[in-house]
């Protein structure tokens, strides 16, 4: 049976970007306030799940041709790499570096290697969630 989901599909096209933007906001907010990679990752995967609900598996994998298992691995590499970078400087594992940098457009910006760690978490969360949903969803 063909269902009429035009409203959902149209709404998704708009809402998707709002959710993704919000997840990016939450991700960066995690620097000093509540938020971070885990929540941001869950929000992004929520957006992708919404896309899956509105369209179907094939369309979505055409739009986002990502191997989610590799995404997990890349995320893990980011997180472990950030932690293991400390080994090069002979400080304890996972010790982070931070400081204020003068950037051309943004002006005085506080940069922190923990953001890279969080980016890894973000990727892992998206990868894991989507892998789970794909595993259950794909054999219908």
């Amino acid at each position: 049976m063909k269902t009429n989901d035009i409203i959902l599909q149209t709404a998704t096209k708009v809402v998707l970007f709002i959710i993704v933007l919000f997840s990016v906001h939450i991700f960066f907010a995690g620097h000093y306030t509540p938020g971070g990679g885990f929540v941001g990752g869950l929000l992004t995967s929520g957006a992708i799940v919404l896309l899956l609900l509105a369209f179907d598996m094939k369309t979505v994998s055409k739009i986002l041709p990502v191997n989610y298992i590799h995404m997990i691995a890349v995320g893990l590499l980011f997180s472990i790499g950030t932690g293991a970078g400390a080994l090069l400087f002979n400080v304890p594992f996972l010790t982070h570096a931070f400081g204020h940098v003068e950037l051309p457009v943004l002006g005085d910006t506080s940069l922190h290697t923990a953001t890279l760690f969080d980016l890894g978490v973000f990727l892992v969360v998206v990868g894991v969630t989507m892998t789970i949903i794909q595993t259950i969803g794909e054999d219908e």
Binding site: I69, A73, I80, A84, N90, P92, F93, T95
Partner: protein
């Protein structure tokens, strides 16, 4: 290099991640996994030597100072166990090359394998009770994957039970940590020990005893002691030999290590109740394990029940709390990890040849496979503790410690159990290897010679470990000294106390 003690955790972790990318290229995976395993062995051997020379190594992860952040602590016991884990992992890995099958290899077998090692090494190394929980979960997650990989009906069914048991025990672990945190207000193991000493100056409060028993339940479920072993024979029966060897040699021992750590570092003030309980449960485990091992006519089941016997013997030594008994327990723990892995791998070869694990249907293997037969024979003697093989010294020290602690019954039962263990394992030898040779379907396709490499290495190490115990003993006694005297551990972690 202050980060030295994290390398046995970090190397398998990075390897596991890299192996995800190489999932479809089997030869590449084997090379990466094998190389990283060798490097891990070398690093952990260096770590043991470093601990021997410079004392306990600690690392405050992320530069947060000791009681506040997560601390990794490598004392002699954990360093030795990390080394043993790396060796056992290497043996299981090269055994897998010729026996695990392409389907599994393509489905992230080696990645999960490495993550399991991360969990085990991490659990041995961590100095933070909640971090211990996290590493337990890493290890369990990997073990779920390894258990279910292949997707046979029996595997699916057993995985469900295994996961359910472990989810419940994880919840209990969290609850126990919550109780402990509410009483002592810290999670650093050394700091917990200090706080418990402060509040137990007159007498150990009842709540600490409750927490001790709760921890015993949690770790006992992982370590398969009586009466919490019920899940083990079924779940360990399902997976193929290398995974079974890995589980049997490592996973239960992590539970045993955790009991040892908590009962020597935290709950040593009132050994009248908690250690008495531990000792009774240990003896019951020995008895139940021996009964199971004698009763079954199945190669895998016999060795699986022998795990319970070994766990009981080790914990009996811990419960006696004398220096001799503690060294005996550590000695026996290392011995058991090596020899159990060897026996499971040998049993795997027997099953691969015969196509069944039922002893009634196997006989006369020694005619065609003398090497296999004699290796099994040596491993069996080592398991039962025939001098000068490795099981002997451990058991001797445990029994000696038991007599010193005036636990004559327990020590007697440990002694008796050796005899019955020998009987149960000789049952495999007599029925499986002697008798009239039979022809088995498909036995020619089994690469016996290549599969023999790993167990031969392990048995050789076990023999050397027993014969060279003179050389090994200083390391073991250093480990036991730290266990018997928690202040050494505490001073190494919290520098100012």
């Amino acid at each position: 290099m202050i980060n030295f003690l994290i390398l046995p955790i970090l190397i398998p972790l990075i390897t596991g991640v890299l192996l995800i990318f190489a999932a479809k290229r089997i030869m590449l995976q084997r090379w990466i996994a094998g190389l990283s395993s060798v490097i891990t062995i070398m690093v952990s051997a260096l770590l043991v030597q470093k601990v021997r020379n410079d004392g306990i190594q600690t690392l405050d992860v992320s530069s947060w100072e000791a009681p506040f952040g997560i601390t990794l602590v490598s004392d002699m016991m954990s360093a030795i166990l990390v080394l043993t884990t790396s060796i056992v992992a290497f043996a299981c890995l090269i055994y897998s090359f010729w026996s695990i099958g392409e389907d599994r290899e393509k489905f992230y077998y080696y990645a999960a394998f490495n993550f399991l090692i991360v969990g085990v090494n991490g659990a041995f190394t961590t100095g933070d009770i909640f971090n211990l929980f996290v590493f337990f979960e890493v290890m369990l997650m990997a073990s779920y994957v390894l258990l279910v990989l292949g997707g046979k009906k029996a595997q699916l069914r057993e995985s469900i039970k295994y996961i359910l048991v472990n989810v419940i025990s994880s919840a209990l672990f969290v609850i126990a940590v919550a109780y402990l945190y509410s009483v002592v207000g810290t999670l650093n193991m050394a700091h917990i020990s200090v706080r418990i000493s402060e509040i137990s100056q007159v007498a150990q409060p009842g709540i600490i005893t409750v927490i001790a028993v709760l921890f015993l339940i949690v770790f006992g479920l992982k370590g398969a002691i009586f009466p919490l072993y019920f899940w083990m024979p079924g779940s360990y029966y399902a997976p193929p030999a290398p995974i079974l060897a890995l589980f049997g040699a490592l996973l239960t021992k992590v539970g045993v290590y955790s009991i040892t750590r908590t009962y020597t570092l935290f709950f040593y003030h009132d050994i009248g109740f908690t250690h008495q309980l531990l000792s009774i449960l240990a003896i019951m485990s020995i008895i139940v394990g021996v009964i199971g091992a004698i009763a079954y006519w199945d190669v895998k089941k016999i060795i699986i029940y022998n795990i319970i016997v070994a766990v009981g013997a080790i914990l009996f030594g811990i419960s006696a709390m004398t220096p001799d008994a503690l060294s005996g327990s550590i000695f026996y723990l290392v011995h058991d990890m090596i020899i159990k892995a060897a026996l499971f791998l040998l049993a795997g070869i027997v099953i691969a040849i015969a196509g069944t694990s039922d002893l009634h249907k196997i006989s006369g293997l020694i005619k065609r496979y003398p090497g296999l037969g004699w290796t099994f024979f040596i491993a069996a003697l080592a398991l039962a503790g025939i001098p000068p093989l490795s099981g002997f010294i451990g058991k001797l020290l445990i029994v000696k410690g038991g007599f010193e602690a005036e636990q004559y019954w327990g020590a007697g039962i440990v002694l008796m159990s050796s005899l019955l263990v020998l009987f149960s394992i000789m049952k495999i030898f007599i029925n499986g290897f002697w008798g009239t040779p039979r022809a088995y379907k498909g036995e020619d396709t089994v690469p016996v010679r290549r599969m023999m490499i790993a167990p031969v290495i392990l048995v050789a190490i076990a023999v050397l470990y027993g014969v060279g115990s003179e050389f090994v003993y200083p390391y073991i006694s250093q480990a036991a000294e730290t266990l018997a005297n928690p202040n050494i551990y505490i001073e190494a972690v919290l520098k100012e106390y």
